[in-house]
């Protein structure tokens, strides 16, 4: 393996999250190392998506700490997580339906655009130049994801597989340090899955982006992840290398019990 796995970038300590009486997450701790591909698996309703929502500040856990590069995160707010370089894709694609592919991906650049409202309204100097510079960056992503032909299409009109790709493009436009992917391959055919795997591994390879991946397809998980966390009913029941996790009796039981 060419890339080197680094230090812990994100450390989750004793995270508990409840919705009223529902315990979505109970006392979960694990860490994520820089440059690795970290998978989160588990049966339906195990709390995987909730975990990602905690990581990027959408859900506020009742207990627990989140350390980003050794510093505790004080406020749980999505845009602060975004500033730290955490971006994500969504399980039920959450694209901006009324906007074109290009504009969707351009929104990923929001935090990097500095010119103020007045300059934008007048479309002069810095505002215009910034717009062009970011467009160039976004076009690189469009090329990378091989979606040049649909760049002006409203995303609402695209087939599911392409929407997933645009969702990834928007997250990549943030040039994230950590990329959270919530079932990026769900509902795809084999070919689309292969493409998606290739994009994920390329991002990880070329930019060293740390990846946290939720995926149901065990083959994919075993193939591309460095370490795996297993959740079941909001509890952590496994954590380790793919082979270790696969051999763990508790994990096998959870999966068989859930009918997989």
């Amino acid at each position: 393996m060419s890339r080197k796995i680094g230090d812990v970038i994100l450390d989750l300590q004793n995270i508990s999250l409840r919705f009223g009486g529902v315990k979505a997450l109970t006392d979960i701790s694990f860490d994520i190392r820089e440059h690795e591909v970290r998978a989160i698996i588990g049966p339906n309703g195990a709390g995987k998506s909730s975990m990602l929502n905690v990581i990027n500040g959408v859900y506020h856990p009742q207990d627990g700490k989140i350390m980003f590069r050794g510093v505790e995160r004080k406020k749980m707010e999505p845009h602060l997580a975004a500033k730290q370089g955490i971006s994500r894709t969504f399980q039920n694609i959450a694209l901006f339906k009324g906007m074109s592919v290009l504009d969707n991906i351009m929104t990923g650049r929001t935090l990097k655009i500095k010119s103020n409202l007045l300059l934008q309204a007048l479309w002069i100097g810095p505002a215009r130049n910034e717009e062009i510079a970011h467009r160039r960056k976004v076009e690189e992503i469009i090329d990378f994801l091989e979606i040049q032909h649909i760049r002006k299409t409203p995303v609402g009109r695209l087939p599911y597989g392409l929407q997933k790709r645009v969702d990834l493009g928007r997250a990549l436009a943030m040039e994230p340090q950590i990329l959270l992917l919530d079932e990026p391959m769900a509902g795809m055919n084999v070919e689309e899955k292969q493409d998606m795997c290739r994009f994920i591994l390329d991002v990880n390879d070329h930019f060293g982006t740390t990846i946290v991946l939720i995926e149901h397809d065990m083959g994919v998980v075993m193939d591309i992840s460095d370490r795996v966390v297993v959740l079941d009913y909001g509890k952590k029941i496994g954590d380790g290398l793919p082979d270790e996790v696969r051999a763990s009796p508790e994990v096998i039981k959870a999966y068989l019990g859930a009918g997989h």
Partner: protein, 358 residues
């Protein structure tokens, strides 16, 4: 020349980010603007200016403002009339209380005041949406109606409650004749439409649309809902406020609070729905439609009635107007939320490919 984009290859991103990426569109709009400045003053008569063109321009500006908020940012408002009133009364007070205040400055200050008030009344949008937000903005409407009626200071203690502005001057040019008023408004609307277009193709517009389409995803990208929503309220209220100042100063000359009642708020919202939410062009079509329809029906229905031998009263005409508006709004809300502008876009799409079906 066929309506085609063939051969119009963009070699730079700057070229691809122009306002009109199809050359024919650009020339069409330039031709319309040139006609508005040169042709219209030659052919329109006083009635046309007073009853149709000036109200159309000013209401189009207000509708554009409402569209930025409702169509682009997805925040409903029933208080647009109030923000026109704020713009008009603020401009009025700047004009009469500060010696030598230039007209354009007063109008723009009216807009800025309206923007400030817009931010305050936009705060509920951070917590509520949909129906609840509609009610909150309606409260703004009633509050302003009350304030301008009861707080005498705003109306310079005029005993009748109505205020008036006379002798409009810009750089020594007295704006008096209808054609002059028309041109004055036209300059505003062209410039403001350009500002709106720029904002909507820049990061601000993308943030608004992102909040409109999927607010959780927008936040996760780093868009702050508070900033995006309040800026939409501010910019929208600025546009609407400037339109209000023009409505008072240029169109009416003297006015009472009733000039900016809740009816006006609804009218502006209808313009946006019929014209097309999230379309600058749509704001213009919507305004044109709503300004012209009553006039058209007034002429057309009685004429039609006399052909078939029925007398149609004025009351019947205004009922017909309401029925037509009502059904159109229901139609567009259900069938085509992007309004007439979308129908136009579909027609253009067909034309681009014509005579081939795909």
């Amino acid at each position: 020349m066929l309506y085609r984009e063939n051969g119009q290859f963009k070699t730079t991103y700057a070229a691809d980010q122009q306002i009109f990426t199809i050359t024919q569109d650009k020339w069409f709009v330039i031709a319309v603007i040139a006609f508005a400045f040169i042709g219209v003053p030659m052919i329109a008569d006083e009635y046309m200016f007073r009853a149709i063109l000036i109200p159309f321009l000013i209401l189009a500006l207000a509708a554009l403002g409402v569209n930025l908020l409702v169509g682009y940012c997805g925040q409903i408002t029933l208080g647009a009339g109030a923000f026109m009133a704020v713009g008009a009364y603020a401009a009025y007070n700047f004009q009469i209380r500060i010696d030598g205040m230039p007209l354009i400055a007063a109008v723009l200050l009216g807009g800025l005041t309206s923007a400030g008030i817009g931010i305050i009344f936009g705060i509920p949008s951070l917590r509520v949406r949909g129906l609840y937000l509609a009610v909150a903005t309606l409260a703004a409407q009633f509050f302003c109606d009350w304030a301008f009626l009861r707080i005498q200071w705003f109306t310079n203690n005029s005993s009748s409650g109505s205020v008036s502005i006379s002798n409009l001057q810009v750089f020594g040019w007295t704006i008096d004749a209808p054609v002059e008023k028309y041109l004055f408004c036209l300059v505003f609307i062209v410039l403001f439409a350009l500002l709106a277009k720029n904002l909507t193709r820049a990061t601000m517009g993308r943030q608004w649309m992102a909040i409109r389409d999927m607010d959780v995803a927008a936040e996760v990208i780093g868009i702050r809902p508070m900033y995006a929503k309040l800026s939409a309220f501010a910019v929208s209220s600025f546009f609407v406020g400037v339109a209000g100042a023009l409505w008072g100063f240029v169109h009416l000359g003297s006015w009472e609070p009733a000039a900016f009642s809740v009816d006006r708020s609804f009218q502006l919202l209808f313009m946006v729905i019929i014209g097309g939410m999230g379309s600058i062009f749509g704001s213009f079509i919507g305004a044109a439609f709503i300004v012209i329809l009553p006039i058209f029906l007034n002429q057309f229905l009685p004429a039609l009635g006399s052909i078939v031998g029925v007398t149609i009263s004025t009351a019947a005409v205004s009922h017909a107007e309401l029925i037509i508006f009502g059904s159109l709004i229901v139609f567009f809300l259900i069938v085509e939320p992007h309004g007439l502008a979308r129908l136009w876009a579909i027609a253009k799409e067909k034309l681009r490919l014509w005579p081939f079906p795909h």
